[in-house]
């Protein structure tokens, strides 16, 4: 029995190693590129032979990149907070209350989540130019909220259905006011779900490229993914590899930290909305 278990364990470690390679090879490659210096940049090696931080110095001295980083962080945090606030309200109503039009709202959220964003680029461009939102923070925040809401509503209402709401009644029986019951009993139970949803919403905003590219025209509101595609090298056709790689690593780090720390919650969040419905 013993050697068989060992063999099986070894086999699984082998399989795990393949998954790790799959996940990390492209990521480490861009890290490696960001660490190469000018002399070895074009050597085609996977591992940098003489690591340097030239590329990082370059992007952190580039005002356009710093501005884009600020835009990315600010826009995504504001969009996430608002989407979570509205999403929590809507999800609570959908999970707990009885009111007309509930079915329609759920269907509408589903439609929005399936929506091809490109179909909105032209009209949003036109509308935002007309009302002065083009190339501003709100001009990106509003579409981000709209496309984050379906995700937030689905995930949160799945979480809310799992909360034992009778506890609230029990707390009231024990003499708690409705506010206290909500604040002390329900809120702590709801927080993990809300927090998980916030991470998922933030990741989806952080990832956006199409809106960032087409609803901005200057560094005023351009986020990092869009700004990266505008980095210019010696000629228009030549992309500055080192700085792009460094910028890529900078915007990847916060997300990878989220994932490493909150893996369990992210998995729960991604699957709850879709499977349990």
């Amino acid at each position: 029995m013993q050697p068989e278990t060992t063999n099986r364990k070894l086999m699984w470690w082998g399989v795990n190693a393949i998954v790790l390679l799959y996940a990390f090879v492209p990521v480490l490659w861009i890290v490696s590129l960001s660490l190469k210096d000018d002399a070895t940049l074009n050597d085609g090696n996977y591992i940098p032979t003489s690591p340097s931080n030239d590329s990082y110095t370059a992007i952190f001295n580039n005002p356009d990149f710093l501005r884009a980083l600020m835009n990315s962080i600010g826009i995504c945090i504001i969009a996430t907070l608002i989407a979570i606030a509205f999403g929590t309200m809507a999800a609570y109503a959908i999970a707990r209350l009885d009111f007309p039009g509930k079915r329609t709202i759920v269907a509408m959220a589903l439609l929005v989540s399936m929506f091809p964003q490109i179909a909105l680029v032209t009209p949003l461009f036109k509308i935002e130019t007309a009302i002065g939102l083009f190339d501003t923070w709100p001009g990106l925040i509003i579409p981000y909220i709209a496309f984050a809401l379906p995700l937030a509503i689905y995930t949160l209402s799945a979480f809310f259905r799992e909360i034992p709401w009778d506890l609230e009644k029990a707390a009231k029986m024990d003499g708690a006011t409705p506010y206290q019951a909500f604040r002390r009993v329900i809120t702590p139970l709801a927080m993990p779900g809300i927090f998980t949803t916030a991470i998922l919403v933030f990741i989806s905003c952080w990832n956006d490229f199409l809106f960032a590219l087409s609803l901005t025209s200057t560094s005023n509101a351009r986020t990092v993914p869009a700004a990266m595609s505008y980095f210019t090298g010696a000629t228009t056709f030549e992309k500055p590899t080192g700085p792009i790689a460094a910028a890529a690593v900078v915007i990847t780090i916060p997300i990878v930290i989220f994932v490493l720390v909150f893996q369990r919650r992210i998995v729960a969040g991604l699957t709850s909305g879709a499977v349990k419905g």
Partner: protein
């Protein structure tokens, strides 16, 4: 009997409501119902308003624009031209090439994602060692910004720079190699998402059932096809529906990898070029509406012919 809003009356009403017989209880019940409805509508209001403002109104506006000339280079020549833009788009080889490319990427991509996603889901579900490690690292491709991953693949295949680039050819300047790399980039990024959805399905398959099948002499392959697949069919269909719709919108990867050169544009890329580079809002909007309609047809086909239950469709009213 009239309901007085004192605490005592409310208490009394609460008591009697259990019987559900007295007038006061019924009165209070209707009031509560009405208050609940009002609260419900108030709570969903902001979310509904934003979704309508950003998605519903603009798509109607896009439809209107698509019936106009709406060329920003000739703003004075704007006129209502009925379906001329659609005729222009639908008789243009550029559109049909892009449509073919998009379909190809969607079908090949979604198939590969389903196969690899299933393998990864089984690994994450079954592994007896390092389960947390595997699940965490599998999330990395999902979490990485698509543009970042696209740049990584682009540099990897760039001649004289990348570790994957062949000696004396530039794959990203030829049609088939470019399509292959675009599909690779798409698949790499989305297999983990697919796998997570499938894994949630796998967790619902009762262990006993698999054991029973095993006792009856079914091998692993048979158990997978005869027990697991039928049971997780809903999860497969939902995952596949989401990925198909997502793949049909492919934009980021193509923009970074080839910028649509050598006819590798997707429909989203072509529509984008007409807006930003061509400033032709009429043609761009006609394409947007066509993409919107195609997406609708795909979703409808999935739900109608494969019986994919859209998530949430059976969830309303569950309390």
């Amino acid at each position: 009997m009239t309901a007085t809003p004192t605490a005592a009356a409310a208490e009394a009403a609460e008591d009697r409501m259990d019987d559900g017989t007295t007038e006061i209880a019924r009165q209070r019940h209707t009031d509560a119902k009405r208050a609940e409805r009002k609260l419900g509508l108030m709570l969903v209001g902001p979310a509904v308003f934003i979704m309508l403002a950003v998605a519903a109104y603009p798509i109607i506006y896009a439809f209107w624009l698509s019936l106009n000339k709406a060329d920003l280079r000739q703003p004075d020549a704007n006129e209502f031209i009925w379906f001329d833009n659609y005729v222009t788009v639908l008789s243009s080889p550029i559109w049909w090439t892009a449509f073919g490319v998009t379909m190809l990427i969607t079908i090949v991509g979604a198939t590969l994602e389903l196969i690899l996603g299933m393998l990864l889901a089984i690994v994450m579900h079954r592994t007896i060692v390092g389960r947390g490690l595997v699940r965490t690292s599998a999330l990395v491709p999902y979490a990485i910004v698509t543009v970042v991953a696209a740049f990584s693949w682009r540099f990897a295949w760039t001649q004289g720079l990348g570790w994957l680039a062949p000696e004396n050819s530039a794959p990203l300047t030829e049609f088939w190699p470019s399509i292959g790399i675009i599909i690779l980039a798409e698949v790499w990024k989305t297999v983990p998402f697919m796998a997570l959805l499938l894994m949630a399905g796998l967790a619902l398959v009762p262990e006993d059932l698999l054991k029973a099948a095993s006792m009856d002499g079914a091998n692993a392959w048979k158990r997978f096809w005869m027990v697991t697949v039928p049971l997780i069919k809903p999860a497969i269909l939902v995952a596949l529906l989401f990925r198909t719709l997502d793949a049909f919108r492919v934009f980021d990867n193509i923009f970074i990898l080839t910028s649509g050169s050598n006819q590798t544009s997707s429909v989203s890329m072509v529509a984008y070029s007409n807006l930003i580079r061509g400033l032709n809002l009429g043609i761009g909007s006609a394409m947007s509406v066509l993409i919107f309609i195609t997406t609708g047809i795909i979703a409808f086909a999935f739900i109608k012919f494969f019986g994919a239950a859209a998530p949430g469709s059976d969830a309303e009213g569950k309390r």
